[in-house]
């Protein structure tokens, strides 16, 4: 990945197939402004094409992931401004990112911050994490998938409570509800996310990407058609070198060495 200078995010180098992106607007509690969104989406699009990158980790600081959208910026827009805003295009890049990504969340993940975390495939949270969709407090609704993803993650009762009242949940509640996969010390959420990312990055990349794609369609397909898709992907993977390597290594009682083919 070329050394590009960003203003709102910090992007690390490739380490064992993993790249860490940190949201970096500390004075604004990482509020997701359009420039931040633009930089992040450009970065994600590039990483999607970079064969050396297998898994991405996104995080904020130890104290805050992202406390919402940039309200000042948003308040200045009228309906046409919102219509013409490129934000929807940027969010779509995240939705279409084919590789696994993990969000390490400490502190506040509110509004757009919560929506960004939910775009990730796995969330690892610090004990101090707080999730919420408080857009209702501003007279609006979540605009980047919050109404759709939250209900799929935590179920109807809790999602309704959160979105309609604007109330937050803490890390333990998020774990119990299935929104996050693990809760740990805030100082360790990033390193644990990276550790997990490296494990994923060490697996056969084609299998990983197929698995992610199939699991995401589970919310949208009938079981029948999803099972058919799973079967097709299973058959497709039988044509890969990595499947052969994986099974041979198992039978030879040695660790596999995947090539990505």
């Amino acid at each position: 990945m070329p050394e590009k200078k960003f203003e709102n995010i910090v992007v690390g180098g490739v380490d064992e197939g993993v790249v860490v992106i940190q949201l970096h607007r500390p004075a604004q509690r990482n509020a997701i402004s359009t420039p931040l969104l633009a930089e992040l989406s450009g970065c994600i699009a590039t990483l999607a094409e970079d064969n050396a990158v297998c898994c991405v980790v996104i995080s904020g600081s130890e104290k805050c992931f992202a406390a919402g959208a940039d309200i000042k910026e948003m308040a200045a827009l009228d309906a046409v401004g919102v219509l013409n805003s490129k934000r929807a295009v940027y969010w779509d890049v995240f939705r279409r990112f084919p590789k696994p990504w993990i969000a390490a969340v400490n502190g506040y993940a509110l509004g757009g911050g919560c929506e960004l975390a939910m775009h990730a495939d796995i969330i690892i949270a610090g004990h101090n994490a707080k999730f919420g969709q408080p857009e209702i407090n501003l007279g609006i609704i979540p605009g980047a998938g919050g109404t759709q993803r939250l209900i799929r993650c935590v179920g109807k009762a809790l999602a309704m409570k959160m979105v309609l009242s604007g109330e937050f949940i803490d890390a333990e509640q998020a774990l119990a509800a299935g929104l996050v996969a693990e809760v740990t010390e805030p100082e360790l959420s990033l390193s644990k996310a990276v550790k997990l990312a490296k494990i994923i990055a060490s697996k056969a990349p084609l299998a990983v990407r197929q698995a992610k794609e199939l699991m995401l369609t589970a919310f949208e397909s009938s079981l029948e058609s999803a099972l058919a898709a799973e079967r097709k992907a299973f058959i497709l993977l039988a044509a890969t070198k990595d499947r052969q390597e994986g099974m041979t290594a198992f039978l030879e009682k040695r660790p596999p060495s995947f090539s990505g083919e």
């Binding site: 740990t184 010390e185 100082e187 360790l188």
Partner: protein, 263 residues
């Protein structure tokens, strides 16, 4: 900065909070809650503060809620005590529990109602021999709050907790120490010095380790052993990254006293 209901000063990395409504036995009103909260926030933010000492002025430590503020006798003005806990007492207990520095409490006299349970929420509690802890709540038709029901059950067991809560009897400082509710009971005239010495000693300890110890011990009451082993693993990983750990090991090997900087 001057306060009306408390005294607060910082000296040599030790923050000292003294409840200061002696004529009301240091009972809490809204103003006192707000002042206490603001100094606890200061302690939270100021990395140079490495321990906190809490005590009271006058003959009592803290008598809990100032009941003269609860004298609403008309039906429509019935106070919502749940709201009071939500807004004032529960955040206070949570802040004490979450503070990343050791909190010493020197109980100089009667600790009644929430006053007792605020003391129990601190990390190391020393009490004057003449001090008493009273779960006075049942005497006015209430339950122990401010974490009292939890602290008592975890520290002294169901039988004692139930009796003290239902009977509202006095728990002497000596019994409190014997039963493991507090750390030490000391002679009245030695209390303030003991509290201050403890706070000063703790302020010279590896402060990050103190914070991690606090997290580990607080979680141990509810974790399974297996889960707690994971917690210890994670916290030890963090503690091992501190400068103070390196200093501690070097000092040990060089057979000299360690000088901890608190990070």
């Amino acid at each position: 900065m001057s306060y009306d209901t408390i005294e607060f000063l910082i000296a040599d990395s030790v923050a000292r909070l003294t409840f200061n409504r002696p004529k009301k036995l240091n009972s809490f009103n809204v103003e006192m809650h707000e002042e206490v909260r603001s100094v606890l926030r200061k302690v939270q933010r100021d990395k140079d503060i490495r321990s906190l000492l809490i005590t009271g002025n006058g003959r009592g430590f803290c008598a809990g809620q100032d009941l003269s503020y609860r004298n609403d006798s008309t039906d429509e003005a019935k106070p919502n005590l749940g709201t009071s806990l939500e807004k004032y007492y529960n955040p206070l207990i949570r802040m004490l529990s979450d503070l990343e520095v050791p909190v010493v409490c020197a109980v100089n006299g009667v600790a009644a109602g929430a006053g007792a349970n605020i003391a129990f929420a601190c990390d190391i509690v020393v009490a004057a021999r003449s001090a008493t802890f009273i779960q006075a709540f049942s005497r006015i038709g209430l339950i122990p709050d401010s974490g009292g029901t939890w602290q008592m059950v975890h520290s002294m067991g169901r039988a004692r907790a139930m009796a003290l809560a239902m009977l509202g009897s006095e728990l002497s400082a000596e019994h409190a120490a014997e039963w493991g509710m507090i750390w030490r009971c000391v002679d009245d005239d030695k209390l303030q010095q003991e509290g201050l010495d403890l706070a000063k000693h703790l302020s010279a300890q590896p402060t990050q380790a103190m914070a991690y110890i606090k997290r580990a011990i607080n979680r141990a009451t509810t974790n399974s052993l297996s889960h707690q082993l994971d917690t210890e693993r994670d916290l030890q990983e963090l503690a091992g990254q501190t400068e103070d750990y390196l200093e501690g090991v070097h000092a040990f090997l060089e057979k000299r006293p360690a000088k901890f900087v608190g990070r």
